[in-house]
């Protein structure tokens, strides 16, 4: 995970528009956690962080339990960005 967060952060630092879409177990770090501010820092740096609504529900993570700067979203966002030609990577 650290590699992908760093990739997102590095691409953002270079002025790119970056969305990190968390899905499956990737949403687990999106739960507010005082001992881990990684996602909050990424969000503050301007990375748009979204978490798959179904994956959150599956894991009992409510919207109000999400790290600041992370929003619940549907897969439509991924498809819309793909349709717009955004470079899309899975990790």
């Amino acid at each position: 995970m650290a590699y992908f967060y760093d990739l997102a952060s590095g691409l953002k630092e270079r002025g790119n528009t970056v969305t990190l879409f968390l899905i499956q177990n990737g949403v687990l770090p999106a739960r507010k956690n005082p001992s881990d501010s990684t996602l909050a820092k990424l969000a503050t740096a301007g990375v748009n962080i979204l978490a798959d609504h179904l994956s959150l529900q599956e894991r009992g993570i409510e919207d109000n339990a999400l790290v600041d700067g992370v929003a619940s979203a549907e897969l439509d966002v991924v498809i819309d960005q793909m349709a717009d030609g955004v470079k899309t990577l899975w990790h």
Partner: protein
């Protein structure tokens, strides 16, 4: 609804092994529902996703017979996505990598699935609006 585009997905995971199969089909279904044409190149274990001989079983641990338990079969999800696409005027083209089919003996697939080669993935990548690889681990 957005302008109709063509999106290509490459899948690698066999069914029933991890969450990527479900996620991949959810993405494909979403793309179809949003009016796009979709190509799927199934590589390695993913050729098992549309394998027509999948069959549901009972779940005695939970106390259900096969018809009651209604165990999901990804082959049915694939067929339903294709049916929906047809009704919606979108195209879903599913190619199973032929060598991957051969080594696994997974020759029987649901209607609408055909055999192909890596050249098909190259052709699709060149002619579609975007391509997403969903790798295995």
């Amino acid at each position: 609804m957005s302008e109709k585009k063509t999106l290509t997905f490459c899948l690698m995971d066999p069914p029933f092994e991890n969450a990527r199969t479900t996620t991949a089909l959810r993405l494909i279904d979403t793309a179809v529902r949003r009016g796009h044409n979709v190509n799927i190149f199934a590589y390695e274990g993913a050729v098992g996703v549309p394998f027509s001989k999948q069959s549901a079983h009972a779940n005695k641990v939970h106390g259900f017979e096969a018809d009651e338990w209604n165990h999901p079969l990804p082959k049915d999800w694939v067929s339903e996505i294709m049916k929906h696409a047809e009704k919606a005027g979108s195209k879903v083209d599913w190619i199973n990598c032929g060598l991957c089919v051969d080594e696994r003996g997974m020759n029987e697939a649901v209607p609408g699935v055909r055999r192909g080669t890596p050249g098909d993935l190259v052709n699709w990548a060149n002619t579609s609006d975007n391509t997403l690889i969903i790798p295995t681990k």
